[in-house]
């Protein structure tokens, strides 16, 4: 399944998505106002503690999601050691890990369908600007449905390329992949019209 939501149930899973997102937003705003590395370290420890109710597997999943951050933190650390501003470097790295750790926690404990429901509710006032929430929901459903379909197609195109060439396919895959997307879009549009259209 295409999702980053953790299958491990935690108490945070039971909180509604709207307040969790609002809380995350408030937390991030506060975080960017703090410069002291000591306070930031304490906040990071608190964020880490929030992962504990999920148990070992949940904590491991959380750490795995932080891994792409490692090279960036290393560069920031090296840069600030070199320019002799270790304190600034420490607060930037701590702020980054704490902010991303908190955001990942929300991602891992909120079902995608709940997130989409929040977006639909937030988008409702946009109706008067011509953005129909029903169309938005339909578009979201189509994207989620077609990502695996296109992934399969790109995989098949890549295999076909490999069968004929020792070189990597790279950008040459993009044209046939885009043509496939265009043809899919035409068929989806026809199917939608055949079922009464979107009105």
């Amino acid at each position: 399944m295409l999702t980053l939501t953790s299958p491990v149930q935690t108490p945070w899973h039971r909180l509604p998505a709207g307040p969790k997102l609002a809380g995350l937003l408030a937390f991030t705003l506060v975080l960017f106002g703090i410069d002291s590395p000591l306070v930031l370290a304490a906040i990071l420890a608190a964020v880490a503690a929030l992962y504990l109710p999920g148990g070992l597997a949940f904590v491991r999943h959380g750490l795995r999601m932080l891994r792409p951050l490692v090279p960036f933190v290393a560069i920031v650390a090296a840069w600030h050691l070199w320019t002799a501003t270790p304190e600034t470097g420490a607060s930037i790295a701590l702020r980054l890990v704490a902010g991303i750790g908190a955001a990942n926690l929300v991602t891992m404990t909120t079902r995608l369908s709940d997130m989409i429901a929040v977006i639909e509710r937030l988008a409702a006032p946009l109706h008067r600007f011509g953005l129909n929430p029903r169309l938005l929901a339909m578009a979201v459903a189509l994207v989620i449905r077609f990502i695996p379909v296109m992934g399969d197609r790109v995989a098949r195109l890549t295999e076909a390329w490999r069968a004929r060439s020792p070189r990597r396919a790279g950008w040459r895959i993009v044209l046939p992949a885009t043509l496939g997307a265009i043809d899919d879009a035409e068929q989806v549009a026809q199917a939608l019209r055949a079922r009464g259209g979107l009105g």
Binding site: L24, I100, T107, V143, M150, A185, V188, Q190
Partner: protein, 180 residues
């Protein structure tokens, strides 16, 4: 209406997939995905407004937690990360690319190239560098220097986008909503 919706949704899905394809490896060894190529193409094919919507849909779904950003990342966390400016800049890049292709009746390849340089390189890097300054605390000069190694790859991608748009215009002339 159905057609516009389907194109917007399917281009959002296409960008998600292209993000995982390593398209170009620079002589310096920096691997570059086809992600921004997809953003440029969305603008060139769909035009400014629909291109913006398609890329905004991709970004919104990534922020909501689908693992569709580069490296299989997703969730609101990227907004606190070093690439935040680029992620938020993608829809604007598609908008600018699309507007150029729409308004300027030059041959598709030329219009796409100019649009992609304006939107996908100049505007996108301005926003990306802004994001680096805010999230990584870099100065304007340091952030710009940090981004320089990526510029040749993205100029190359503007060239590829122009060739691809030309190819698409030939293979599916009706699909170029930007020139409809």
């Amino acid at each position: 209406m159905e057609r516009k919706l389907a194109y917007v949704a399917l281009f959002a899905a296409l960008i998600a997939i292209l993000t995982l394809v390593p398209a170009v490896t620079l002589p310096t060894g920096v691997p570059i995905t086809a992600q921004s190529l997809g953003v440029m193409l969305a603008g060139a094919v769909l035009g400014g407004r629909l291109g913006f919507l398609a890329v905004a849909l991709y970004v919104a779904l990534g922020l909501l937690g689908l693992p569709i950003f580069s490296g299989g990342k997703g969730g609101f966390a990227v907004l606190a990360g070093p690439t935040a400016g680029f992620i938020l800049g993608f829809p604007v890049a598609a908008l600018v690319t699309g507007l150029v292709v729409e308004k300027w009746r030059a041959p598709v390849s030329l219009a796409t190239f100019v649009g992609a340089i304006l939107g996908g390189v100049i505007v996108l890097y301005a926003m990306g560098i802004g994001g680096l300054m805010v999230n990584a605390g870099l100065s304007l000069k340091d952030a710009t220097v940090a981004m320089l190694p990526f510029v040749p790859g993205d100029v190359l991608k503007a060239v590829l986008a122009a060739a691809l748009a030309q190819g698409l215009a030939k293979a599916r002339p009706d699909a170029l909503l930007s020139r409809a």
